[in-house]
């Protein structure tokens, strides 16, 4: 699916798509993603798939052994951000504007979790993303999400910012 009218080969990440194994640097440079042992499964135009290995320290409800909702937030936030990167024509800073998660059911205990996000619409300023997370079957997700991101979050180099700097 094209979100911007751009041919996939025009995307900034084009040289990376489909590379085997996928370059893990994109998550290993993120301290918290690294701490959780997250890894990239797939990077494709507008799409990112990430894995979060099950660990006891991710649990929210010890009685049921279920992973804490917040850990799923982290997986889906990371996947969503990478999906936006997979939609950029030029690399620029991005920032999460909002993220909404629906917890469809409890994640199965002792199971690795996978998150998949797709940037389905990209404008000059805002990227729109939807995602889902599952344990065993991609068709039976335990969580889904919607997120929006600001593009070019670091505004210090805009002409207006430069002009204001000169005035200051």
């Amino acid at each position: 699916m094209s979100t911007t009218g751009l041919a996939p080969e025009k995307l900034a990440m084009a040289p990376i798509f489909g590379r085997e194994p996928p370059p893990q640097e994109l998550v290993t440079h993120v301290p918290h993603a690294c701490r959780l042992g997250m890894s990239i499964v797939t990077l494709a135009p507008h799409t990112a798939v990430l894995k979060l290995p099950y660990a006891e320290e991710l649990i929210g409800d010890t009685k049921r052994g279920v992973v804490f909702g917040g850990a799923i937030t982290t997986l889906l936030d990371q996947s969503s951000g990478l999906a936006v990167f997979c939609s950029l024509e030029q690399f620029t800073a991005i920032a999460t504007l909002d993220l909404r998660i629906d917890y469809l059911r409890a994640a199965e205990p002792a199971c690795d979790l996978t998150g998949r996000a797709e940037c389905y619409r990209m404008t000059r300023n805002v990227a729109f993303v939807r995602g889902r997370a599952w344990d065993r079957d991609p068709e039976r997700p335990f969580a889904s999400c919607l997120a929006t991101f600001m593009i070019g979050a670091n505004a210090t180099n805009t002409p207006l910012a430069r002009m204001l700097e000169q005035l200051a």
Partner: protein
């Protein structure tokens, strides 16, 4: 206003992911605060540095859970149905504080609103709202 004295802080031990993040609760003169002391391992952007968006989201959800547990005395852990996070400012290398308000407490569902800030409570870094199954 920030959190005040560190002496009244207690780590959350019952939730493993909260322990991993290093979340604590603190009694203050106007209610309870949930505190996320700054840790390198919670960073998402090392260059800024800024906390991981997922960590901020998890912290908001945990703040809601603490408030629900404190007020409802329910037998089980309330289960999140959905949670929505607005990222308002970058959360820097500083302690983060959270406060939750139960907007509606029904028989089966509670609706909770949360705010998180760093040095100034009037300048929140993130806001969250969620529904929990009791």
């Amino acid at each position: 206003m920030s959190g005040g004295s560190r002496k009244n802080r207690t780590p959350i031990t019952g939730v493993p992911y909260a322990r991993m993040l290093g979340v604590e609760v603190e009694r203050s003169e106007n209610g309870w605060l949930v505190v996320l002391p700054f840790r390198e391992a919670n960073v998402g952007n090392a260059r800024l540095p800024a906390l991981h968006g997922g960590v901020v989201g998890a912290f908001l959800e945990l703040t809601a859970l603490v408030e629900l547990t404190r007020q409802l005395h329910s037998a089980g852990t309330p289960k999140p149905i959905n949670f929505s996070i607005d990222y308002l400012r970058s959360a820097g290398a500083d302690d983060t504080f959270g406060r939750a308000e139960i907007i509606k407490h029904g028989r089966r569902i509670a609706n909770v609103r949360v705010s998180a800030w760093q040095s100034d409570e009037t300048k929140p870094v993130a806001a969250g709202i969620g529904n929990f199954l009791l």
